[in-house]
């Protein structure tokens, strides 16, 4: 009797082990999948996201632009200045091209923000004309240096002013070339590094949304 039960017990144990393995794999894919990074993402992805600390800037209409303006939608953000002849307009054009690749459903939940770190030369009225040239829905943002630094340091954006050459009023501003993506809960979620490509930005954005939404 004892002898004849042995194989049944063994079979049961093996069956339980296999079931456990299958269940474990299924659960790890179902639950753990949320933090996986898509293999072919053209961006640096932050699986947990980095919450943005409070900051207070103004938009092109002089209205407050703070963390609350980031909530409830995805935000692409690029930092520069309007007198930037090459990198900034090229990047904004790329953002416009990426914008065109998004479907209407995505557009309703997405905003493109150009942040000028050069508040002296880029007051809201100047920014309004500038961003409107690229797209009427684009948002221009600027603000005081201490508030700007709260945002830029928080998301790892660098900028610095070069001294004007003797006898010149104009000056050059050096700045990071990254486009950052902030999720609807105001977490830094991804960083796109130059050179930028609208197809890659739009494609990666879709993959990130598929993962998180």
């Amino acid at each position: 009797m004892k002898k004849s039960n042995f194989p049944i017990q063994s079979l049961l144990l093996v069956a339980v082990a296999i079931l456990s393995l299958v269940l474990g794999l299924w659960l790890s894919q179902k639950l753990g999948g949320k933090t996986l990074v898509p293999a072919d993402l053209d961006a640096t992805f932050l699986p947990s996201g980095k919450p943005l600390a409070p900051f207070s800037l103004v938009d092109q209409d002089g209205k407050a632009f703070d963390v609350d303006r980031l909530k409830g939608r995805w935000t692409f953000m690029f930092f520069g200045y309007t007198n930037c002849p090459d990198v900034c307009p090229t990047t904004l054009q790329t953002m416009k091209d990426a914008w065109k690749l998004l479907d209407k459903k995505s557009l309703d939940k997405t905003q493109m923000v150009f942040v000028s770190v050069d508040a002296d030369r880029d007051p809201p009225a100047v920014l309004k004309k500038y961003v409107n040239y690229f797209h009427p829905d684009f948002i221009g943002v600027t603000g005081k240096p201490e508030q700007m630094d709260l945002l830029t340091r928080n998301i790892g954006i660098l900028y610095g002013f070069e001294d004007p050459q003797p006898g010149r009023k104009d000056y050059v501003v050096n700045h990071s070339g990254q486009i950052v993506l902030i999720d609807p809960a105001a977490n830094l979620r991804a960083v796109f590094s130059p050179p930028h490509d609208p197809q890659k930005i739009a494609g990666s954005f879709q993959k990130i949304r598929n993962l998180l939404e």
Binding site: N83, P85, D86, V87, T90, Y130, Y133, N174, S176, P194
Partner: protein
């Protein structure tokens, strides 16, 4: 005296060669990126080929439509995009040099009026061999 004549003749022969040297640079695809309203600094680009056997420098470009024009190169350094001023554009013999977005470019200050897609701008180019060329650049939307 005879020797002086010979030298003068030699120099006279060299002069046309110097003029010919200017023609070793061929400019193409000159364009200026249309800029948003109010912007006082624009960027311009072109391709240039040196068909000669000597390096030629583009030493200066002026335009009646701009206050001044400088050469710059966008460089990614210390985590930032920086503008590195370039005194000249070097065009090695037998090579093509491209001025293009996010690379070498003309930084064009203080346009005399706002340019739109399709406009043309005159560029007067000075070369290291002492010669000059005048070309037209087309304003284009990015």
């Amino acid at each position: 005296m005879k020797r002086q004549y010979i030298l003068t003749f030699c120099f006279a022969c060299l002069f046309p060669l110097q003029t010919m040297a200017a023609s070793t640079l061929i400019f193409a695809n000159a364009w200026i990126a249309e800029a948003p309203p109010g912007v006082k600094v624009m960027a311009g680009y072109f391709d240039v080929v040196n068909t000669g056997s000597e390096e030629v420098l583009i030493t200066e470009i002026t335009s009646p439509e701009f206050g001044n024009i400088e050469f710059h190169r966008t460089v990614h350094e210390d985590g930032m995009m920086k503008m590195a001023a370039q005194p000249h554009v070097h065009v090695p013999p037998g090579k093509q040099v491209k001025l293009e977005p996010n690379g070498k470019h003309m930084m064009m200050f203080n346009p005399v009026y706002r340019f739109f897609h399709g406009d043309h701008v005159t560029l007067r180019i000075s070369l290291s061999d002492g010669s000059k060329q005048t070309i037209k650049a087309t304003v284009k939307a990015r």
